[in-house]
């Protein structure tokens, strides 16, 4: 994973935790600075799990400091792919119905393509528990989508 890809994934993660572009960008950059301040770790691999851990802690601190920030409207770069955009808009609406943990799992697993082993390490769960909770979050999301259609 190159630096830019790491940045994008962390920024996405922080954005969905903090719901503010500025705060997410600050948290992402602070994550990198803290990561590289610990030079010993940088040579040992598993960088992404460590980066997520730092970002998670930073987001928690930020959320405690300033808990209510409205979600900004993300860019809409898919005007020419109407079907997908409509589905993604429904999904976005349904995501708000999920709890924080479910949203975090779906983001990390499906939007950031985080391996199950990394997720297990990050969330302090067994691999089996990660699979189970991800499936539950997905089912909950699908249920909310069905309810939205009705």
């Amino acid at each position: 994973v190159d630096l830019e890809e790491q940045y994008d994934k962390l920024y996405r993660y922080c954005y969905w935790k903090l719901r503010s572009r500025e705060a997410a960008e600050d948290a992402t950059q602070e994550t990198f600075l803290r990561f590289y301040a610990n030079t010993g770790y940088a040579e040992r691999g598993k960088a992404m799990a460590y980066l997520y851990t730092i970002a998670r802690n930073l987001c928690m601190d930020e959320f405690r400091r300033c808990p209510t920030v409205p979600l900004e409207t993300a860019g809409e770069p898919w005007e020419d792919r109407e079907a997908e955009t409509l589905l993604s808009l429904s999904v976005r609406a349904a995501l708000d119905g999920l709890d924080e943990e479910e949203r975090e799992l779906l983001l990390l697993r499906y939007a950031n393509d985080t391996p199950v082993a990394t997720l297990a390490e990050l969330l302090g769960l067994s691999r089996f528990a990660v699979y189970r909770r991800t499936a539950q979050a997905r089912q909950h999301l699908e249920q909310l989508l069905k309810e939205g259609e009705e």
Partner: protein, 232 residues
């Protein structure tokens, strides 16, 4: 159970945040830590295979035994051992080629070129120190020429072989070169001419200079073959 592709795509899109504003500037100025040269060389020294050090130590032990008497006949035996010392260095530097990993290592974080250079430096310096230790201990610094000539000739032939051969054949080529030089030393010893007399010292020096230049050139070619893969 796998998620439908459209759903995955929709999730990815739904989680898309607004474009970050300062990403490029931040990444350009990010002070990412770099491994120091000394730390890198130390790391590579640790990766040198154990048998390289074992063979070197075995040759040192044998040489120390010979140096007790320190006569001319023993010098030939010492000279005949040097090619096998050289072959350990060449085999270590050509390890990636021998096992067919060179193409992969050309594109890894530490490129093959820097790894080979670091290992050449580590093993080469260790051998030079070994030679210096031997000669100082025996009080025969002048003998350095007689030992360096077979060492460099074997290195030269070994590098040439590994540049032209691949896989196990390269390793056999190295050992063949070492055996050739070693038996050459034995032939000289029994040729009936006193090659180690002072009269021939100038010729030894000339051969040493030529071997040094040829080995430097061959090393350069060898390193050039390990240049990183470049795209477009």
């Amino acid at each position: 159970m796998t998620m439908k592709r459209a759903m995955k795509q929709a999730l990815r899109q739904a989680f898309t945040p607004p474009e970050p504003e300062n990403k490029r500037t931040f990444l350009r100025t990010l002070p990412s830590p770099r491994l120091s040269t000394a730390a890198f060389v130390r790391q590579q020294a640790g990766a040198v295979r154990g048998w390289v050090w074992l063979v070197s130590l075995a040759i040192l032990a044998a040489a120390l035994r010979l140096l007790r008497t320190a006569d001319r006949a023993d010098l030939w035996s010492l000279a005949a051992m040097m090619p096998f010392l050289a072959v350990t260095a060449v085999a270590e530097c050509a390890r990636s080629r021998t096992y067919g990993m060179d193409e992969l290592e050309k594109a890894t974080r530490f490129s093959l070129k820097s790894v080979v250079l670091a290992r050449m430096a580590v093993v080469g310096l260790a051998h030079l120190m070994l030679l210096a230790f031997l000669l100082l201990l025996g009080g025969r610094v002048g003998w350095a020429v007689y030992l360096l000539v077979p060492y460099l000739l074997s290195t030269l032939l070994g590098l040439a072989a590994t540049r032209r051969l691949r896989g196990r054949e390269a390793l056999y080529g190295c050992f063949g070169a070492a055996a050739l030089v070693s038996s050459g030393a034995a032939l000289l010893q029994f040729s009936g001419t006193a090659w180690l007399e002072q009269a021939f010292y100038g010729r030894w020096l000339a051969v040493l200079a030529a071997a040094l230049a040829a080995t430097a050139w061959e090393s350069k070619q060898f390193i050039r073959q390990t240049e990183e893969l470049t795209w477009n």
